[in-house]
């Protein structure tokens, strides 16, 4: 009871939860992480409470697990790895601190979801470089910290984009602001001279935000983040290009991105595209899927402030020329799929239930980064693994996202399954454990390793493991932040 009293003193009376139902909800997720019940759930409302909490955790040796998104969780990173942990639920920190049209920057707390921010941005003539259809409960800050891929590669200059600056309470309880937000002065003082917290790197001779991103909450708790936005287009024209050959579409992606001709640019297989488009009143999933070719490239061409029609016109002509050189043809409709409809879904408000769980109740994603020349081979490896584990390949969703202006490609294989079917679940679990090595040997880089992949990934890179442990020791010397994740075992 002493702990509860202490927590109540720090966070507030109604913000410390410990009913069985509430704790059970955080003891597991849709991944195969071992269920471990947390001791409390706390809901801080401001940075000061978070800082006091982290200091208290250091004094008492209590593990803290920061969680900003609502359920369902998929990766196991929010499930405690040890007993006695406290879930720090940041979903109540829901302030939009600033939207700066001139400098294309928004600053939000971790409880803000995509649906919270998008309409506010639109009012100011801005938009986000979005991940592909995040769930409606997904925290925007959480998505940025996880380095989730985004759909407009030409505006993705660096893998860290569109995250700019952050405020963080490090594992030792110190407050820090990364990048140009560090100072001099507080946010208001910086705004007064026209600054906008837009430089992610820094301050000075280090890039502190890179150490926070991808850390799964092991370095500290982020209490706000600034986000690079783009101007909202005046005109937007969507296109599909179909092919049975992935390599042809990848070649076209290279030309379209290098020519800075397209905004959204992504590849889906027929399974994923059908799942995204299926909805009440439309043909059933199977009807849509069978009407589609194996691979579909989706891209948009936009016109903005100056002569938008002229820009769109020449970019349609130039992109079509590239396509035709490769024997491909841009279209607006493929079978039962409309490019306009996909555009509406991608840029519209995120709906529930999430498209990935709508199909069978749950899903498991195998995802990694690689280069375009390896993707066909990696696709074959993944399909072979699926066959070996009795997973029906036609049911596997595939999403390929060019990143960093076409330098790397995010590859995501979604295995839809029924969580109440023990045999299907066992098969997916087996696949999750066996896919790593064959894919890594084929050139896949698991830059965001969750669950058991972390162990596999760090086994391949001992020096990085040593380096990261040094950093962990610096920022979280008592290992209170999400212990047991990545390479930070107790």
């Amino acid at each position: 009871m002493k702990k509860k009293e202490a927590l109540t003193g720090i966070i507030g009376k109604d913000c410390v939860l410990d009913t069985k139902e509430e704790l059970d909800a955080f003891s597991r997720d849709s991944s195969f992480a071992n269920p471990i019940k947390p001791r409390f759930i706390v809901k801080p409302r401001n940075t000061d409470a978070v800082q006091k909490l982290v200091k208290w955790a250091n004094e008492t040796g209590t593990p803290l697990i920061p969680v900003s998104s609502g359920a369902p969780h998929f990766r196991g990173d929010t499930v405690p790895s040890s007993g006695g942990a406290i879930i720090v639920d940041l979903s109540g920190m829901k302030k939009i601190l600033r939207i700066d049209h001139e400098n294309r920057i928004a600053i939000v707390e971790p409880g803000i979801t995509f649906n919270d921010l998008i309409p506010e941005l639109e009012q100011k003539g801005l938009r986000l470089n979005m991940p592909l259809l995040p769930r409606n409960t997904k925290s925007l800050v959480g998505s940025l910290l996880e380095r989730e891929p985004v759909t407009m590669p030409q505006y993705h200059w660096d893998l860290t984009d569109p995250l700019a600056c952050t405020e963080i309470i490090y594992g030792n309880g110190d407050l820090f602001r990364t990048g140009s937000a560090a100072g001099p002065g507080d946010l208001e003082e910086q705004w007064e001279v026209g600054a906008a917290q837009n430089e992610a790197s820094g301050p000075v001779q280090a890039d502190f935000s890179r150490i926070i991103q991808g850390a799964q909450g092991t370095m500290g708790i982020v209490t706000w983040a600034s986000i690079r936005c783009e101007h909202l287009p005046v005109l937007e024209e969507p296109f599909f290009i179909a092919s049975s050959k992935l390599d042809s579409l990848l070649e076209l992606c290279h030309h379209l991105i290098n020519g800075r001709l397209v905004d959204d640019c992504l590849i889906l297989n027929s399974t994923n595209l059908a799942h995204i488009l299926e909805k009440e009143g439309s043909p059933e999933y199977e009807t849509i899927r069978t009407s589609l070719p194996q691979w579909v490239l989706f891209y948009t061409i936009t016109g903005k402030k100056y002569f938008p029609e002229e820009k769109v016109k020449y970019q349609i002509e130039d992109s079509s020329k590239h396509a035709r050189t490769l024997g491909l043809e841009p279209v607006r409709q493929l079978g039962d799929a409309s490019a306009y409809e996909l555009l509406r879904i991608l840029h519209g408000p995120v709906t529930a239930p999430h498209w990935k769980v709508r199909a069978k109740g749950s899903c498991y994603d195998i995802f990694f980064l690689s280069t375009s020349d390896r993707l066909s081979r990696l696709s074959t490896i993944t399909k072979d693994l699926a066959v070996k584990n009795d997973y029906p390949v036609p049911e596997m969703g595939i999403y390929i996202q060019p990143q960093v202006q076409g330098v790397s490609y995010h590859c995501e294989y979604t295995l839809f399954f029924d969580p109440d079917d023990p045999s299907e679940t066992a098969s997916i679990r087996e696949l999750s454990m066996t896919c790593f090595d064959p894919l890594a040997n084929g050139g896949a880089f698991f830059s965001r390793p969750y669950g058991p992949w972390a162990e596999f990934a760090y086994r391949r890179d001992t020096q990085t493991t040593i380096g990261l442990r040094k950093l962990k020791n610096i920022f979280d010397p008592n290992n209170v932040m999400n212990p047991g994740k990545l390479c930070f075992y107790t």
Partner: protein, 523 residues
């Protein structure tokens, strides 16, 4: 003075063989002779290192670093070198590591838009290979003769950073001999997947390796790195004419154009440059003050002075910037030109006639694309420069800070302590990544005297004080303990974290910290 520790010398000689190590005073002086040395010694020379060692590969670098740890000898590596940064802090108890034998372009991957280089590959060399394949890279303002390694330059900004970004964001995978001699491969290359990614698995150690500024020789040695490359719309094998230093494209590319545009006031100029940057129409935007233009477009100082008069007749003190438009198709090129004209008209701007001459365009397009004119802009008049250097977050704040510091600079000029710039501003700057970020510098051409250097340092210091007072972002010239201690308390005490990095990654403190930070702080 030879390296004091003779056992260390013999160990180093064994590693690289006698022909790749020297302690001859003449050789050592060639490293100690640095523009800017007068700032510290009132002479053109910094203190000599104990020896210079030239490793030929990563394994030799590793062995040298391990020997330095064993014998407690400080070391500082440099690649192509540029200024006092590469040698500051050395003396007869320390060694200089010259990486010139590591000069290979290891990979150009056009499909994945990166190139992997060793430290002594220059940007000019890499660019020549890239252009043949339709690609380009970000070349720092210090020139095409500088290393293409995106962890070599102290910052990594250049005249084309609008479309080719800059150092901290162009770096991908990297090979890093840590201060204790272990080899760390950053990102995907550490997992054996190639050089295409610099982050992960999990948190990124790229965060320790550099920020907006690099660690400048103070945290081990970078032996290979991948840099992001960019599309190049210009000729793949450009024909060049002219003689050094005034090379020029022989033919004017049909899909490229260069303009110099001016505006009625500083405020409108800033609005306009940001508007043009955000319109995504330019290959390069570079704010060049008239004295810089004149020096960049002339063969010597006298010609430069004459040209400045001519330019000023047209520019008439109006703030302006230079830009290059490039299009991948006729329609794209026409569209971009049309947008530019619209913005310039909307902002009551004017195109300067001198830059309508095709000869000028050909020379300046090549000079900016190749980053060959930048050095003339700042160096030729007096052979050295320094100044007030802004940050890399925003053009607006960086530029405002430079303008605010102009009265201080004028005081130095009026006293004759630094070159006068003919009463003009000499501010350089560029928006970065289509205007998401930006940078500006107020350059001062220093006379070759200790008094002049001290004056300009005082000016820089006062500009920094002003930035702290007025809450402008930190400049990209914060290095060494004293500077970190000055800025750290105003920037969330970052310097205390930096010292922890130094302590953890360099437990013996042998990687020379004069341009980075020491674990223990100022003595």
């Amino acid at each position: 003075m030879a390296l004091q520790n003779r056992d260390a010398y013999r160990a180093l000689e064994d590693i690289v063989s006698p022909e790749n190590i020297s302690e001859h005073p003449a050789v050592l002086d060639s490293y100690a002779y640095q523009w800017g040395a007068a700032l510290f010694t009132n002479t053109p020379f910094l203190p000599r290192a104990g020896a210079v060692v030239l490793p030929g590969n990563t394994q030799q670098v590793q062995s040298i670093v391990r020997a330095c740890n064993k014998y407690n000898v400080r070391y500082k590596a440099f690649s192509t070198g540029w200024g006092f940064y590469s040698a500051l802090g050395l003396d007869e108890t320390a060694i200089q590591m010259d990486l010139r034998r590591m000069n290979q372009i290891l990979e150009i991957n056009g499909k994945s838009m990166y190139a992997v280089v060793e430290p002594y590959v220059t940007s000019g060399q890499l660019q020549a290979e890239l252009m043949k394949r339709g690609f380009n890279l970000n070349i720092i303002g210090a020139g095409a003769n500088c290393s293409a390694l995106p962890v070599a330059a102290h910052q990594g900004l250049g005249h084309t950073s609008l479309s080719t970004s800059y150092g901290p964001r162009n770096l991908l995978g990297a090979e890093w001999v840590l201060p204790d001699g272990d080899i760390l491969k950053i990102g995907s290359v550490g997992s054996g997947a190639g050089w295409f990614c610099g982050d992960g698995p999990g948190p990124s150690l790229r965060g320790v390796l550099r920020g907006p500024q690099t660690v400048m020789g103070g945290l081990g040695v970078f032996t290979k790195a991948a840099t992001k490359i960019y599309p190049w719309s210009g000729p793949s094998q450009p024909e060049i004419e002219g003689i050094s230093p005034r090379y020029s494209l022989k033919d004017m590319p049909k899909n490229m154009n260069l303009h110099y545009v001016v505006f009625p006031s500083w405020d409108i100029f800033i609005d306009a440059i940001i508007e043009v940057a955000q319109a995504e129409i330019c290959f390069a935007i570079t704010r060049l003050a008239p004295p810089m233009l004149a020096q960049g477009l002339s063969g010597n100082n006298d010609e430069g002075a004459e040209l400045l008069i001519k330019l000023q007749e047209q520019i008439q003190d109006r703030p302006g910037f230079c830009l290059i438009i490039a299009g991948n198709s006729e329609a794209e090129f026409a569209y971009r030109e049309k947008v530019l004209k619209k913005i310039v008209a909307d902002k009551a701007g004017s195109f300067i006639d001198y830059f309508k001459d095709e000869d000028v365009k050909r020379e300046y397009i090549w000079g900016i694309a190749r980053s060959t004119i930048a050095i003339r802009e700042v160096f030729r008049a007096t052979g050295r420069f320094l100044g007030s250097i802004g940050d890399s977050s925003m053009f607006l704040t960086s530029f405002k800070m430079m303008v605010a510091g102009l009265p201080l600079k004028r005081q130095l000029q009026e006293k004759g302590l630094v070159r006068g710039d003919e009463g003009l501003d000499c501010i350089w700057g560029t928006p970065i990544e289509n205007g998401h970020n930006g940078h500006a510098e107020s350059l001062v051409q220093v006379h070759p005297t200790g008094e002049s250097w001290q004056a300009v340092m005082e000016y820089s210091g006062r500009c920094e004080d002003m930035a702290i007072e007025d809450k402008y972002p930190a400049p990209v010239t914060v290095w060494g303990d004293a500077s970190h201690d000055k800025w750290g308390p105003h920037l969330c005490d970052y310097h205390l974290w930096l010292r922890k990095f130094k302590k953890e990654f360099d437990p013996k403190g042998v990687s020379e910290p004069a341009m980075y930070i020491s674990a223990e702080g100022q003595k």
